[in-house]
């Protein structure tokens, strides 16, 4: 506790700001289960410190093209020296075993002949070429002097021109050229790098090398290309080391597992479902179903775009019908309750003979509305993130220098602004995916949904605060010369907000990743399984030094820099008289 308190003195800003978030009902009230919670939380916070540390250590390596070549060369050299084979052969062996050095070793020492056969590495047979004279090329059937004839390890002679054409055709056919064999169908002797180097044009040779390099990344289970357009880097990932999110040198973040953009806290499966859903024609179908009815005669879908129930289908059909009952319009009149108040539908509904297709339409419409709700928010955060990325770029390239001049501070002292923007970008990404998460969270899990929506709402408003501060308040310092003091205050505020938001989002991600398990745990053990209590546990759980903050929060409630709202327990600064969350007055 003591050491943590010291730490917090050093970061006084964090301290204050953290209250915004962590001050929860559960802690300011002296609940019964509070004590139990203490011990539990404290232990847990230790564990999660480890989690945070291990996460900060990168579990992946970014490889540039040179690095890839170098690694490839190293692997080839290793095989060469252990198996005492040529580089050419080593390369083919590695390719066959997906560039896994130990697999090559294993297979080779288990059964060398089998491996040689599979790869096409023949022992140089005792081919005794005639000392002089000519040989017939097996492709063009011309005779050539020996110096114009070439052969793979098998010794089948072909002229250099035919070899060149053969290899070149294969290279231009695609990566299959890496497993090229002697043209004789029954032979199977491999044609390796050395022959390719010797016989092909520079252009084909470059392509071949490219395929070889690509194979090193693509066939290897531990490496993948960065999917960002125009990026040539690859990522080597330590399998089984937790989070799949990686960030390339090009600053593109993606999930190493599914290569979609980074999507924590949502899992890969949900992401692919969501992406499928977004692109799927099925939503269009749902729309048509929800908003149109087929013409009773020609069955074309019709959208009703005017108020009147009297529908006339487009020529050539021109069928006139009633939108409500889909009956022929000429049947409608005074006796059926008037043209504009078809009561057949109403009475049918009353009798319970509610048309099955009508109900389906209704359901489709509801599900479409639900989807639209989540999709809109998902897409808005996406846009917002892109905007933030652009702003970040603008900040790095233009504004930072300007600000540095205005405030007479070196740019290194303004790093906190960049950090704030990076955090905004990251938060927008997380927030975006929480909407996919929400869409797939089962409707019947009321407690979880409530808790989730609460967390999401908090996240949203917290991020909004940070975004606002980085965008609007910063602008004032860009446009006019604020005083040094004011700017320093701004610095503490923005840095504080950044750190608080980071913590909050990290906890949010963790809570969602473990499937909001706290709701279950809490619901079972506590007499008050309200979503808010659950929220408190989760947020405190895994958050660095929460135990001590909580102590601090209570004490500072006393020294009244903040006050806790009676209704929603939100910690408000003392300057406001009504709660910033629920507008309940103090």
């Amino acid at each position: 506790m003591d050491s943590e308190d010291d730490m917090h003195d050093a970061h006084d800003v964090d301290y204050y700001e953290e209250d915004y978030y962590s001050g929860d009902a559960m802690y300011s009230d002296d609940d019964d289960d509070d004590d139990a919670g203490y011990g539990y939380l404290h232990n847990d916070s230790d564990d999660s410190d480890d989690v945070i540390v291990s996460r900060q250590q990168k579990n992946y390596t970014i490889l540039k093209e040179d690095d890839i070549s170098q690694l490839q060369e190293e692997d080839i050299t290793r095989i060469c020296s252990v198996l005492s084979v040529s580089r050419d052969s080593a390369c083919m062996l590695l390719r066959r075993y997906n560039w896994n050095v130990s697999n090559v070793h294993e297979a080779w020492f288990a059964n060398e002949d089998k491996v040689r056969n599979a790869v096409g590495l023949l022992d140089k047979k005792d081919i005794k070429p005639p000392k002089s004279g000519e040989l017939l090329c097996g492709i063009c059937f011309e005779s050539y002097p020996l110096d114009r004839i070439c052969a793979a390890a098998c010794g089948h002679p072909f002229c250099k021109e035919c070899w060149t054409a053969y290899i070149s055709t294969s290279i231009n056919d695609g990566p299959g050229c890496l497993t090229l064999r002697c043209p004789i169908p029954s032979c199977g002797a491999a044609v390796g790098v050395d022959m390719v180097n010797m016989l092909t044009s520079d252009e084909d040779n470059t392509k071949y090398r490219r395929y070889l390099l690509r194979s090193y990344i693509e066939d290897n289970k531990k490496t993948k290309w960065c999917p960002a357009p125009g990026c040539d880097c690859a990522i080597e990932f330590d399998l089984g080391s937790g989070s799949y999110d990686v960030t390339c040198y090009c600053s593109y973040s993606f999930c190493w597992n599914c290569t979609e953009e980074a999507h924590r806290p949502v899992d890969c499966e949900t992401v692919s479902k969501w992406i499928m859903k977004n692109s799927a024609e099925s939503e269009n179908m749902n729309w048509i179903l929800a908003n149109s009815k087929p013409c009773p005669k020609c069955k074309r879908p019709i959208e009703k775009n005017q108020g009147c129930m009297h529908m006339t289908c487009n020529p050539p059909c021109k069928y006139e019908f009633c939108w409500l009952c889909l009956g022929q319009w000429s049947d409608h009149g005074e006796r059926t309750g008037g043209f504009y108040a078809c009561n057949r539908y109403e009475s049918a509904k009353q009798e319970g003979a509610y048309d099955e297709s009508e109900r389906r339409r209704e359901m489709a419409k509801n599900s479409l509305e639900r989807y639209t709700h989540y999709y809109e928010r998902w897409a808005t955060n996406q846009l917002s993130r892109q905007k933030a990325l652009a702003d970040l770029h603008q900040m790095q390239t233009v504004h930072l220098a300007k600000l540095s001049e205005k405030q007479c501070q070196p740019e290194t002292q303004l790093k906190f602004i960049i950090e704030a923007w990076l955090q905004i970008v990251e938060c927008r990404r997380v927030l975006k995916w929480t909407y996919a998460y929400g869409y797939y969270l089962p409707e019947q899990e009321h407690a979880k949904r409530q808790f989730f929506e609460y967390l999401q709402g908090e996240a949203e408003s917290g991020l909004e605060r940070l975004h606002q501060c980085a965008e609007k308040e910063l602008n004032t310092y860009l446009n006019e010369d604020g005083s040094q003091d004011e700017f320093n205050n701004f610095r503490t505020k923005l840095a504080g907000l950044t750190s608080v938001t980071r913590n909050y989002f990290e906890n949010l991600v963790r809570a969602l990743e473990n499937g909001l398990a706290d709701v279950d745990a809490h619901g079972a053990s506590s007499k008050t399984s309200s979503s808010k209590n659950a929220a408190g546990t989760s947020k405190a759980k895994g958050s660095k030094g929460k135990g001590s903050i909580r102590g601090g929060a209570t004490s500072r409630t006393d020294d009244s820099t903040v006050w806790s709202c009676d209704q929603c327990t939100y910690m408000n600064p003392k300057t406001v008289t009504s709660c910033q969350m629920c507008h309940n007055s103090r």
Binding site: I139, C140, F141, E161, A165, D173, P183, I184, P185, G188
Partner: protein, 185 residues
């Protein structure tokens, strides 16, 4: 049985003007050195048009002891510009009812398929085209195809079904093709 149809002279003439063009060299060598020296039974070939070495007219004689015995089936063999690195195509101009011949006459056998990965995964790379194949090996493959149809990946689904399930019907149809082909001789 091989008939050079006077093609030899034409080819030699054509070669004089394009002496170093590899495809022509391969095609003509395939013809002059292989076919003329090692004639294939039941097959004859010649140029469709003496100015174009890339299109050959070939006649395949139905192999004995098969349903196709006695037929004279004409086909056009078309060589691609990058021959011999890509295979020629063979299309029967006579009607041939066979599981491995498309309704338009195109022959579907594995050695006429370009090398590389087989999209359907049916054929081994070693069964496919490589530049050491020649007109001779193609014709041998076609003759063997006529003797033993492969109904696993048929080009003519109807014919394959008939061959498998209603052999009598199939036999009748092939007999009709054989008779028709004889009329054109």
């Amino acid at each position: 049985m091989l008939h050079c149809d006077g093609g030899e002279e034409k080819i030699k003439r054509s070669l004089e003007s394009n002496a170093n063009f590899v495809p022509l060299k391969s095609i003509s060598n395939a013809f002059l050195r292989n076919l003329c020296k090692n004639p294939v039974d039941g097959f004859s070939a010649g140029l469709v048009d003496e100015s174009n070495l890339f299109e050959w007219s070939v006649t395949v004689i139905g192999p004995p002891d098969t349903l196709y015995e006695g037929g004279f089936f004409n086909a056009i063999m078309t060589f691609p510009p990058n021959y011999p690195n890509s295979p020629p195509t063979v299309r029967f101009t006579s009607e041939v009812w066979h599981p491995n011949v498309y309704p338009d006459g195109k022959v579907c056998i594995s050695i006429l398929h370009p090398p590389g990965d087989d999209p359907n995964g049916y054929e081994l790379a070693s069964e496919r085209w490589t530049p050491v194949h020649t007109v001779e090996s193609i014709v041998l493959s076609i003759i063997s195809m006529l003797s033993s149809p492969n109904d696993e990946s048929p080009a003519n689904v109807e014919a394959a079904k008939e061959w498998r399930e209603r052999r009598d019907e199939f036999r009748k149809k092939v007999g009709r093709c054989v008779r028709k082909s004889q009329e054109f001789m």
